[in-house]
Assembly symmetry: C2
Homo-oligomer: 232 residues x 2
DNA sequence: TCAATAGTGTCTTTTAGACATTATATG
DNA sequence: CATATAATGTCTAAAAGACACTATTGA
């Protein structure tokens, strides 16, 4: 018989970064038995005096050791009746973006580590719970939103070069982009990036020094940075 | 002291339609005391054996009398600690789209009625609970998604003319569109609409009969139907 | 006939993309 | 010098937008 119940409410965070030229996902050891060998998104139950965004930030900080992600947004809520056999539960999923950290993250809490998204997609890494439903949604959201919001800058540390920014698009979209046309589009999108006036030192192999930029004030990109060839 | 709690989980549905050339929102009488004169989105608590989508459909049907919306999607989840003074609660908001009904909806349940979105935005209609936070998010989602998904067809009954479809974009975006260029863009977006082979009878004032179309198979629009002048 | 609405043609501007060329660094 | 990377220039094609023009109806 159908009745009203109360629910356990959790948040789960898909934190993406671009490292070594590929999209990576932060995963931790699941805290539940029955998932040996699997990894999970950082997350857990919401406390009674915090809102959902605060819960997401708390788990990023305490479970994953990430203190200041450049971008956090709500993704969607998963609430199948059979999600959790112990009690009726819903999970509010979040998408977070951060620059590639210099050191692997974590103060060791629950073995936080970055995993290449390709390994998750291909099944080399197995996800616990229903997190294999959340992750594709997170990737799709990130791919789409890079087109019309200046989100790519959340993946790079300031100041950054346009080659670094291009590397973000290439890693998230999985395509190669023409450097010349990419530059024109970024510069031609007002408020996307602003030059610092400095230049980066070339690598050991030489090369002309790259102009350095920081994040601009724009909230949307005009014109948009469209993905090539979504043709049908 | 912060503790774990269970939550009351509700869904609230922002059902949009285009009627008389303007964007309208379905509202009902709130079921809680303390909101005299205010109206609310249809919604309520999720049962223990249904998922979130099912709950949204149930409230559309039972509370609002809408049986077959053309489009339903999850919007986002609102979970401030003070949302509901009686208990910790979260609300999963949904966006739904439907063609303008011939008759005002409802079998009278909780006084379901369509209200012009302009009256909601301007404050002529007062919303109960935190529904004044949900509605702007719903409108923004609809406006944006009309650009790259064939969602506009969810607002019209099949078969439809291109003038009717254009009226949807004009009502949702609040701008006038050039009929000639609009036509070319719709026809040039493969799978957006398909002609039925029939023509509509002109109105009483005459005019060339319009070609009739139905919804096409495309899931995305290529190229997109971009809103004019989002310039800064 | 005229008024009304649907549909086509044409021209200009903007944007996207391919790709050659120039600029400035290291070794 | 050669090599590497950044930045600019040029050309073509695709798309957006303004707007004149033609087509088919009712009165």
């Amino acid at each position: 018989m159908a009745r009203l119940t109360t629910f356990a409410v959790a948040v789960d965070v898909a934190l993406l970064t671009v490292r070594d030229g590929v999209l990576q996902l932060l995963l931790v050891e699941p805290d539940a038995r029955g998932y040996q060998g699997a990894l999970a998104l950082p997350g857990g139950r919401v406390l009674d005096d915090e809102n959902l965004d605060q819960a997401a930030s708390r788990f990023l900080r305490d479970v994953a050791g990430v203190r200041d992600p450049e971008h956090v947004e709500q993704l969607r809520t998963y609430g199948e009746p059979e999600r959790d056999p112990r009690a009726r539960a819903v999970s509010v999923a979040y998408l977070a973006l951060t620059p590639a950290p210099a050191h692997p993250p974590g103060d060791g809490e629950r073995g936080a580590r970055y995993v290449a998204m390709a390994d998750v997609t291909s099944g080399v890494v197995v996800l616990a719970f229903d997190h294999d439903r959340i992750v594709p949604d997170a990737v799709e959201r990130a791919r789409g939103k890079l087109e019309y919001r200046p989100l790519a800058t959340a993946f790079v540390e300031e100041p950054f070069t346009l080659a670094e920014l291009r590397g973000v698009y290439e890693a998230v979209w999985g395509v190669a982009l023409d450097p010349a046309n990419f530059r024109r589009k970024v510069i031609g999108s007002p408020g996307f990036v602003v030059p610092t006036g400095d230049k980066a030192a070339p690598g050991s192999g030489g090369g002309r020094p790259a102009t350095l930029y920081r994040r601009g004030p724009a909230a949307r990109l005009h014109p948009a940075m469209l993905q090539p060839s979504r043709e049908g």
